[in-house]
């Protein structure tokens, strides 16, 4: 690091640190948003247990069981293939998963005088899977479901026990709560806001007042100056991420599953995209009044379409497809995969490629639009 770069970086950091409104928007606002949405706890206040049913029998008996399960007001029943439901269970979306085996409803005939054999419905094991990471939900749901099968056995056989034998198996998994969804979302949102706004406002102002022009009258290396400015914002992004993670884990019970270094890397590369967008805006905007208008045209759609506060599952298919390609979608998906699912960056093909492609595009646009002076 040359002395001039160090000087430019330290002055840039000092100027940023002393800028009260920049600090407010980059550190306090994300926390406020997180607290508000965290307290709302959307999707978190459940009064029923979510269970998954895998129907392998597809016969009147299994249909009868399903109909009766649906009548249980405390259960929210989903259906799916064994793979899909197990996956949902491991992600923390189900309190348990019940498998109705193919032999359900078979009738047993006994050989004469066979010991322990009763003619009638053949006893079957009912596999029940629970998530190790959600012991409380698992316990409640298991109690309800075992009770249900005990009653069903009684109805089917006229005596308790016997026909349906629930076999509980605990699977390793995660407990994904709304907080787990929200915290990575807020992290991605904040690095976008800070990247775009802190660069766009500062550079439009410096372009207008002639700060940049004064620097161009020195033998300063342009690359060093820009590197110092970008590094300042990347450091701010890292500080933001650290604070949001800390508050998320300590105060909101965020389940941080992934590698923090990889998480930071995803955040820093994501932040670079938004910093480049900020440079582009600062070149395009004629004055400071134009910045919020231009920036919000880009920021607001991403904020609501990239799955920051809510999943994109309920979107119409075409909108879902469009939102797949937004830079913030790639960034938030990468952050979520690393932080919540514990994935490694090198396993996140699409998201990493999406971030890389957007970085190239936005840097190219920034180079084209950036101006040192008002023309």
């Amino acid at each position: 690091m040359s002395r001039s770069f160090r000087a430019l970086l330290s002055t840039s950091l000092k100027a940023y640190y002393r800028n009260r409104s920049a600090m407010f928007f980059s550190l306090l606002v994300p926390l406020i948003i997180m607290v508000i949405f965290g307290l709302l706890n959307l999707g978190g206040n459940h009064t029923s247990e979510n269970i998954g049913v895998v129907d392998l029998a597809h016969n009147p008996s299994s249909q009868l069981i399903i109909d009766n399960l649906k009548k249980e007001s405390v259960l929210q029943v989903d259906f799916g293939s064994q793979a899909a439901e197990t996956n949902a269970l491991k992600k923390g979306d189900r309190a348990l998963v019940v498998v109705l085996p193919a032999e359900l409803g078979a009738i047993q005939t006994c050989a004469p005088r066979a010991v322990g054999c009763h003619p009638g419905p053949k006893p079957v094991s009912i596999p029940i899977y629970t998530n190790k990471a959600k012991p409380q939900d698992a316990q409640i749901a298991t109690a309800i479901v075992t009770q249900f099968f005990a009653q069903s056995s009684f109805v089917a056989l006229g005596q308790p026990g016997g026909v349906f034998k629930p076999v509980v198996q605990v699977l390793p998994g995660q407990n994904t709560t709304y907080t787990d969804f929200l915290v990575p979302g807020i992290i991605a949102l904040s690095i976008m806001q800070t990247g775009i706004f802190s660069v766009a406002f500062a550079f439009v102002q410096q372009k207008q007042t002639g700060v940049l022009r004064r620097l161009m009258a020195t033998p300063m290396k342009v690359s060093e100056f820009l590197a110092a400015q970008v590094t300042t914002r990347l450091i701010m992004a890292a500080v933001q991420v650290a604070i949001l993670l800390f508050v998320g884990v300590v105060f909101f019970g965020f389940h941080l599953a992934g590698n923090v270094v990889e998480l930071m890397l995803a955040c820093i590369f994501g932040s670079a995209i938004f910093i480049a967008i900020g440079f582009g805006i600062s070149g395009y905007a004629k004055d400071e009044q134009a910045v919020p208008a231009i920036a919000n045209i880009l920021v607001l759609p991403m904020m609501f379409l990239s799955g920051i506060f809510f999943t994109r599952d309920s979107m119409p298919a075409w909108l879902h497809t469009v939102s797949d390609y937004l830079p913030l979608t790639y960034v938030v998906d990468a952050i979520r995969s690393v932080a919540v699912n514990g994935s490694h960056l090198w396993n996140l093909g699409t998201d990493v490629i999406g971030i890389a492609v957007w970085l190239v595009i936005t840097v190219a646009i920034a180079i084209r639009l950036f101006r040192w002076e008002v023309v």
Binding site: R3, S4, A7, T11, K14, A15, G210, R214, T218
Partner: protein, 267 residues
Amino acid sequence: MTATFPQTGVRGPSPQGLAIKVEDLRKSYGSLVAVDGISFNVRENEIFGILGPNGAGKTTTVEILEGLRDADEGHVTVAGVDVRRYPKRVKGLIGVQLQSSAFFDNLTLLELTDMFAAIYGRRINARELLGKVDLHDKEHSKVRQLSGGQKQRFSIATALVNDPRVLFLDEPTTGLDPQARRNLWELAQALRQEGRTVLLTTHYMEEAETLCDRVAIMDGGKIITLDTPANLVQRLLDKGFRGRRVEREANLEDVFIDLTGKDLRED
């Protein structure tokens, strides 16, 4: 201000040498011809003024000399370096005060001065330099807390961090009160005393008359005359010109300074 300046290492005047050499300089913006084939020299250790109405091409000329803008045609040598070929090298040798001087917010004068020195790869005593432009009691202030005159003096301080041989001052006294203007004149003269060459642009004829050894008057992108202020006035008088009123021994500005004093009003 007192003219006790620390030793600066600027070499003494060499009357034969040229600090700035401009030959047939041209610059157009689209169809607008801003500078239309001008040539002039600035001698070493001279205070040289470029005068002219707005839009005459003064600022464009100065910006080309400073390496901030390239010309379309012509040769420009500043401090012995071909500006059009080595703009960055020239920038390292000269000091520049721009018309609108702005600096990063939220940094103190001391921090900004140190930053500028680092850009030039210099190690300087920033306190001493700020003291030199009478800002020793403002070293921990921010630029926005300064008065107009203080801002201009600080701007000159940042132009001095590399101990430049040639100093460019673009309208340094525009908008200043008479006290602050006089104070800046003294600073410019003191800088010349140190052996530096000063090129300045101004709208104030009194300023040019007081400070400049020679002035060039520009209009429509051309230099229409170039001489010492005294010669220019004499030539006009020789043509038979007589002023609207007979010049008295004093004018209104002298009255103003007599009544309000020379002390700076900035705090």
